[in-house]
Amino acid sequence: MDKRAVFRSWWLPTAFALPQLALIVLFFYWPAVAVVRWAFTLEPPFGGSAEFVGLANFREVFADPLYWNSVLVSLTFALAGTLSTIFIGLVLALAVDRQLPGSGAVRFLYILPYAIAGPAAGLAFRFILSPERGLMASVNSVFPDFWNPARYGSHALILVIVVFAWKWAGYTFIFLLAGLQSVPTSLTEAAAMDGSGPIRRAIDIQIPLLAPTLFFLSVVMMTEGFVGADTYGIVARTTDGGPNHGTDVMVYRIVEEAFRGLNYSGASAQSIVLIGLIMIFTFIQFRFIERRVHYK
C-alpha cells in the first residue's frame, strides 16, 4: 500500500477545483446546453420567438447529400491526417533519438511548425502549392493539370492534409521523442550488439514500447482532425471548402452555416451530430485498440 496524503475536509479540495470547474461549466457545458436548445428550435438571429420544431433541423441535415459528402471528406481528412502526422513524427523522432551530431538543432527545427497558427500555414501553402504560381507551376507547364487543387477535389484534399501534417507532425514528434527517451538504452544496445540495424531495432523494440504514446496520439489527432480550430483555419485559408465541396470538412460547414449563413439551428444540429460521431470514434478506439496497448 502506498502512503497517501489526503485532505481531511471536503471543502478545501473543492475550493481548489472550483476555478477550473467554473471555467468548464461556463465555456463548455453552458454553451453545449444552448446548442441543444438551438438544435430543436428555429429562432431569428436577433432573437424573438423561438419556435420548437422537434427533429426538423436534424431531418434537414440528414436529408442533405452534401452533408454526407462532408462526413466522408472529414473522415478521409482525419484518418489521413492522423496517419501521416504520426508516421512523419515517428520517423523524425527515431532519427533524432539516435543523437547524431546536430540532432539538438534539428529537434528544435522539427518542433517549430507547431508554433505557427493553422490559418497562417494554410495561407503560406496556398501560395507555395498554387498550381499556376507555386512550386508545381513548372511541372504543370509540361504536364497540364498534373497538380491542380483548384480543379480536382482529390488534389485539394491532399493539399489540406499536407498543411495539417506539416504543422502537427511537430506535435507528435515531441511526444514520440519523449517516449523514445524512456525506452531503456540497454535494450537497444543489446540489440545493436546482436547485429540488428536501426530500422530493425525500431520495428522490434522501440515502436512496440511506444504503443501507449501512439495510442494517445491517434486519439488526439483524430479529434483534432475532426474538430480542430486548425482544420477550419486551414480549409478556410486554402480551398474555401472547394472545389465543388471537395474539401468541405464538417467543421468548415458548421462555421460557414452558422456565421455566414446565420443558420444557427442547422449548424447546432450538425454540431451535435459531430459531437456524437467523435464520441463513437473515441469509444471504438478505446474499446478495440487500447486492449492491445500494454502500459507496462
Binding site: P31, G47, G48, R126, A150, F259, R260, L262, Y264
Partner: protein, 452 residues
C-alpha cells in the same frame, strides 16, 4: 491540450455569453460628453479613413464622442452585432453589408433612419440620395431604414495598351465586342484576354440587373418572403454558357486565389487584359499598374440589342440599433448628419474611391473638377451606371434571406462548370434548388412576419 474549434463554435452560438468581455463602460470620465459606439467592417487603409472621419466628428463639436471599432470583416460585423444585441451591449451605429440588409430589416432591432432624424430635429432631404442606391436599402414603400454609406458598383476594366497592340479600335461596350476583342488579343499573343473568378456579384447580380432579368420572383424578394430564385431560367444561363464557351477556347481564363492569382492582381500584373470588378478597386488598380500603362474603366458590357438598365449598388449602409438611452441617439443623429454634409461626402469619396451617395455630394465633386483628371477620371461612370435608368422590379435590389449562402451556392455551381466541366443547366438548377431550400428555411424562421 488540444485546441478544438468547439468551444468557439459553441460559445459563438450562445451569442449572449460571448460579448460580456467587450469592454466599454457607459460611464464616461468626461461627464459632459455622451459617448456612443460605431462598429464597421472595413479594414486596412479604409479602416484608417473611418477612424479619421470619427476624429473629425469628435473635434467638430463638444457634446458627443463617437468610439469607432473595426470588426475586421462585413460578415463579422453582422455576427458581432447580433451577439451584442442579444447581450444588450449593442453599438449605437453598425455598418451592415448589402447581403445582410434583410436580416436587419426583419430584426425589429433598429431605429428607422427617418424616425431617428425627425425625433432629433434634423431635416434630411431623403430624395437627395440617388434612387438606385437608396432603393436597395429602402422598404418596398420607399422608406429608408438605414443610411447608405459606402457604395460601389461593378465595372469593366481593360488594358488600352494591349488593345492597341492587338489592333482593336473599339471600346468593349457589348459582349459581342468583348468576344471579338478577346479573339484579337489571343491572336496577338495574349494568354489571358479576359480574366474571371467565381464571384457572383458581377457575373450574376449585375449582369441580371443591367439586362433587366430577375434573380428571384416577387420582385427579387421585395414583395414577400415567399420569393423563389429563378436565375436558372433567365438570360444568366445563356451568359454562363457564353463564358464557358469562351473559357473552352481560352479566351476567358479563370483566375482565383486558389489558382494563385485573383482577377484584380491578374489585371494589374498585365496578365489579363479585361476584367469585371468593383469601382472600389479603381484606386488600387491605378496605383498598382506600372506608370505609363494605359487602361480604361467602362460600364459593364450588355448584349447587342438589349436596353441597358441601371446596375445594382454594392457596399454597406449604417443602421442605428434599438434599445439605447436617448442621449446616444442624439449623438448618433449628429454623427450621421455630419457624415451627410457635402464636405464630408466629398472627402470620403476622394480618400476611398467609394462613390458619393447623394446628388449634392456628386454635384459638388463634379463642380470641383474632381472627375476631370487622373487618378479619379472614370469614377463618374459608376454613378452613370447606377443611375442609367429608373429602377425596375429587377434592378431595384435583391432582398433575399440567406443571400450570402445563395451567393455561395451559385459560386460553387460556377466552380463545377468551369473547373470540372459540369453541365451548365444542371449545375445552375441544382444551385437554384439549394437556394430555394435556404429561402424556405428563412421564411420559416421568420414565420408570421411580412415585408413592408
Amino acid at each position: 491540450m488540444k485546441p478544438s474549434v468547439f468551444p468557439f463554435v459553441l460559445t459563438g452560438l450562445l451569442a449572449a455569453t460571448t460579448l460580456t468581455a467587450t469592454t466599454l463602460s457607459a460611464t464616461s470620465a468626461h461627464a459632459e460628453k455622451t459617448r456612443f459606439e460605431f462598429w464597421y467592417g472595413l479594414t486596412g487603409d479604409l479602416s484608417d479613413r473611418v477612424q479619421e472621419a470619427c476624429s473629425k466628428f469628435n473635434q467638430s463639436q463638444g457634446d458627443f464622442e463617437v468610439v469607432c471599432t473595426s470588426q475586421n470583416a462585413y460578415d463579422a460585423t453582422l455576427q458581432n452585432t447580433i451577439a451584442a444585441y442579444r447581450a444588450k451591449k449593442q453599438p449605437a451605429i453598425t455598418q451592415i453589408y448589402d447581403a445582410g440588409t434583410l436580416d436587419l430589416m426583419l430584426s425589429k432591432a433598429f431605429v428607422p433612419a427617418k424616425t431617428l432624424m425627425a425625433d432629433n430635429g434634423y431635416k434630411i432631404d431623403w430624395d437627395n440620395y440617388f434612387s438606385g442606391i437608396a432603393n436597395y436599402y429602402a422598404t418596398a414603400s420607399g422608406e429608408l431604414n438605414s443610411f447608405p454609406f459606402n457604395s460601389s458598383t461593378a465595372m469593366f476594366y481593360y488594358n488600352v495598351d494591349a488593345f492597341q497592340k492587338a489592333g482593336i479600335d473599339f471600346k468593349p461596350d457589348t459582349w459581342e465586342q468583348v468576344e471579338e476583342a478577346a479573339r484579337k488579343l489571343k491572336a496577338a499573343g495574349y494568354d489571358c484576354p479576359m480574366g474571371m473568378n467565381f464571384d457572383t456579384w458581377a457575373t450574376m447580380e449585375q449582369f441580371s440587373a443591367i439586362h433587366n432579368q430577375p434573380i428571384a420572383t416577387q420582385a427579387n424578394g421585395y414583395k414577400g418572403l415567399d420569393a423563389e430564385v429563378v436565375f436558372n431560367k433567365t438570360r444568366f444561363v445563356d451568359q454562363v454558357k457564353f463564358l464557358k464557351r469562351l473559357a473552352d477556347e481560352k479566351l476567358v481564363v479563370i483566375k482565383t486565389k486558389q489558382l494563385g492569382m485573383d482577377v484584380v492582381p491578374a489585371f494589374t500584373s498585365q496578365t489579363c487584359q479585361m476584367i469585371q470588378t468593383s469601382i472600389a478597386d479603381h484606386g488600387t488598380i491605378g496605383r498598382t499598374l506600372p506608370q505609363g500603362v494605359k487602361w480604361e474603366v467602362a460600364m459593364l458590357p450588355v448584349w447587342n440589342g438589349t436596353e441597358r438598365q441601371n446596375s445594382l449598388v454594392g457596399g454597406a449602409s449604417l443602421w442605428v440599433m434599438a434599445g439605447l438611452p436617448q442621449a446616444q441617439y442624439k449623438g448618433a443623429a449628429a454623427f450621421l448628419a455630419y457624415l451627410g454634409t457635402p464636405e464630408m461626402a466629398q472627402w470620403w469619396s476622394t480618400v476611398t474611391g467609394y462613390i458619393p451617395v447623394t446628388k449634392t455630394g456628386f454635384d459638388a465633386m463634379k463642380a470641383n473638377g474632381f472627375y476631370d483628371k487622373a487618378p479619379y477620371k472614370g469614377r463618374e461612370l459608376a454613378i452613370a451606371s447606377l443611375t442609367y435608368t429608373p429602377t425596375s422590379e429587377n434592378t431595384r435590389g435583391i432582398r433575399l434571406g440567406g443571400f450570402t449562402q445563395i451567393r455561395k451556392e451559385v459560386g460553387t455551381a460556377l466552380e463545377a462548370i468551369f473547373m470540372q466541366n459540369a453541365d451548365v443547366q444542371t449545375a445552375l438548377d441544382q444551385a437554384a434548388e439549394r437556394s430555394n431550400a435556404v429561402l424556405r428555411r428563412f421564411e420559416k424562421t421568420y414565420s408570421g412576419q411580412t415585408l413592408n
